[in-house]
Symmetry: C2
Subunit: 253 residues, 2 copies
DNA sequence: GTCTATAATTTGATAGAC
DNA sequence: GTCTATCAAATTATAGAC
């Protein structure tokens, strides 16, 4: 157990470089030698400080997710205390969950855009040890926010809310990863300077939050009667009602 | 150039196995030996038929994307011909673009859910050669659908439409990859039987299409005046107007 | 804590017989 | 087209001196 207070440089420099390289090349695409040479530390230092490559990967996430998910809980506690028993507005829940995430992108001390992009791409990398690790790190915060959304949208079936939470995570994850076939949109390349610009988080936030909120409160799909005819199953029933007038109750107040 | 008409088995069996293993383990996480042993072909067969591992990866996608993006163009041509110059409805454009994709998941001959999940996770893997390849494969179809959306939503700034196209791709990509921290939602594990169930595409379609359509037609964000106060930048302005009454013009007819 | 040296495997690719 | 045998390089990890 390395508990010495000396040389926080090496330990943290490894984490910082690993975070950036995992973001740019993925876990499998990044070798220990790439990390140690760029961090200018000895190859054996990684195993000394972290034990293995997998443990390094976990630690890269642990130091960020610890802050993120704790902050999310604190914010939700504060919102619910202020609401005094009343349900929160959907926008409040989304702002607490995704706004906290996006705010990390503006603060290099919290990982900045480098960590956000790493998180975005890692959420679709189903290496077993990462999935297991994430499941543990996210268990509490997901449970809390699920129920906050259930209360915020009492007229939407809970299963539907879970699906939409899923879709919102996807939009955010993909937007953060920032590797799009629509290069025009994001305007940056991976590893680019713009890709790690803290202002990117603010620009993204202004665009994505209305999108997420609208999707979360979308009219309910038809009770999926005719699943036999593929070309008529989806989309057609969703044009006429476009918002507050449909089955979904808008947030109170 | 392998042009012989013999043994389509080996050639195609390599592609099928590679598709499944790349889906489950990613490109870097899948070795040639894993592919050849599972496909029960000789190790040298891959290089004989495809030339290299990178070329194999490209061919895995090429045979699917060729059909997908051609079908998307054909469908859009038909819709625009039927509209006789009038703009399409947003739901028609989404149905042609994403509905075609989801329909691949129901047909094993088109790759089924295995290919859809591979595509979903690969869109966030920014290995250079994959990005370059995708850019070429998607160039035409993206250009066509961009302009179809511009026409379908004449009152939404084009840049905003591009962002929302981006977000929609993200929801879809992430939902297809199916590796979520909300395990309850999807209910399947990667590599699981349920994960490759053709019915999964229909279930997903009924859930995701209304979400995408609502997000695409969300109220426009405030002109982002106060970017200084992070907690008030987003979300708060999006509660009151929840749909058709806002600045976004609903689709014609 | 840092470093050198190296073990033990695995990787993508190829030469050449059949 | 298929196969065996093999190369050259890269990988994670560790032992042991300082």
């Amino acid at each position: 157990m390395p508990d010495q207070k000396h040389c926080p440089d090496t330990h943290d420099r490894i984490l910082d470089v690993a975070e950036r390289l995992f973001m740019a090349n993925g876990y499998e695409g990044t070798s220990m030698r790439m990390i140690t040479s760029e961090a200018e530390v000895n190859l054996a230092a990684v195993n000394y400080h972290f034990g293995s490559k997998e443990a390094l990967m976990r630690e890269v996430f642990r130091r960020r997710l610890l802050w993120l998910n704790r902050e999310r809980i604190v914010l939700l506690d504060a919102l619910e205390a202020a609401a005094a028993g009343a349900p929160l507005k959907p926008s409040q829940v989304l702002e607490a969950f995704f706004g906290t995430l996006l705010r990390m992108g503006e603060d290099p001390a919290l990982g900045g855009m480098v960590f956000l992009r790493l998180l975005g791409r890692t959420l679709t990398e189903p290496a077993d040890f990462i999935r297991t690790f994430f499941a543990g790190e996210y268990a509490e915060v997901v449970e809390r926010y699920k129920h906050a959304l259930f209360r915020a949208l009492p007229d939407v079936p809970q299963e539907e809310i879970l699906w939409r939470f899923h879709f919102m995570l996807g939009s955010m994850s993909y937007a953060l990863a920032g590797t799009d076939v629509l290069e025009i949109v994001t305007g940056y390349e991976p590893g680019d300077a713009m890709a790690t610009d803290p202002a990117a988080a603010r620009r993204l936030s202004a665009r994505v939050m209305p999108f997420l909120l609208a999707g979360l409160r979308a009219p309910l799909p038809a009770p999926l009667a005719s699943l036999s005819s593929p070309s008529a199953t989806s989309g057609d029933s969703c044009d006429a009602p476009s918002g507050a007038s449909s089955r979904v109750t808008p947030s109170p107040a």
